[in-house]
Symmetry: C2
Subunit: 160 residues, 2 copies
């Protein structure tokens, strides 16, 4: 079987910020991320899903070290936008990296199944053809990396 | 200024499926995407955000041509999971592709601002270091690609 997954990675000093009831109209996403960028806060991943009733949920991750600064900025921003903001400081992101992973739809499900088998709850998910990332609790980070490695037979002694 | 964005792309025959009130416990994501994969439906991008009250929202895109098949599978799956499913057949995805886009936080906001200026509403968003994708209405696809091209000075006559 062709090897499409080339590696797995864990980023475990992440914080997550979730904005709910964000007004769903052009300009809001630009305003949010322009404001954050001007405060020199580096954003890791951005996920947005529109909801009914003309609002959206926007979730993004930042380095844990930037959470205090991000909080000041986002609290003020949410008052301006009339949305709510929640902050979580105990996140980790486990990812599989590869090529052509979209066509090989088995990759996402194999990753999700490996985590499920280890009873690791997948919180947020973001994907592309070359990377599938799952946001989980930091306490499960190392285990998550291990089970994903095993699921895709990664790791030195398995390399051909 | 270093060029980090190398191209923009439009994928405009997409359908979006959104599952809400998905039980947020280990195994659910695996079940959803295993079921879809076994029916040979190729999934484009997957986005998931957890919500309060132990549920999650899972949104994913499929080729428009696969929507009818996907609908049968997902309707049955949502009954089994006790979640809701909505289907939209008028989606397009505009993306910018590059390298190191995360560190250069200005990229996401520039893309969002370009779309906002053209009054294009950004529905779903998914990002990685090398790709930022916005799901929009298909009717605005071509305009979206053009304004993103212009915002990043892409296109033959601008190449150095
Ligand atoms: C919610 C936000 O993304 C909005 N739809 C926008 O286009 O900016
Ligand atoms: C909602 C779903 O992703 C669930 N949290 C899981 O781990 O499978």
């Amino acid at each position: 079987e062709r090897i499409v997954v080339s590696g797995a990675a864990l980023k475990d000093k992440l914080a997550r910020i979730t904005l709910r009831n964000v007004p769903d109209r052009p300009g809001t996403a630009a305003k949010i991320f322009h404001t954050i960028a001007t405060h020199n806060i580096v954003v890791d991943d951005i996920i947005q899903i529109v909801a009914p009733n003309r609002v959206a949920t926007v979730a993004f991750t930042v380095d844990l070290a930037d959470l205090a600064d991000a909080r000041k900025v986002v609290d003020k921003l949410s008052r301006e936008l009339g949305c709510t903001a929640t902050y979580e400081d105990h996140m980790a992101k486990v990812s599989v990296v590869g090529v052509g992973m979209r066509v090989h739809t088995g990759v996402a499900e194999r990753m999700f199944a490996a985590l499920a088998k280890a009873k690791i709850n997948i919180q947020n998910i973001t994907t592309s053809e070359i990377k599938i990332s799952c946001l989980i609790d930091r306490a499960q980070g190392k285990t998550a990396l291990k089970v994903v490695h095993d699921a895709f037979k990664l790791g030195k002694r398995n390399k051909r």
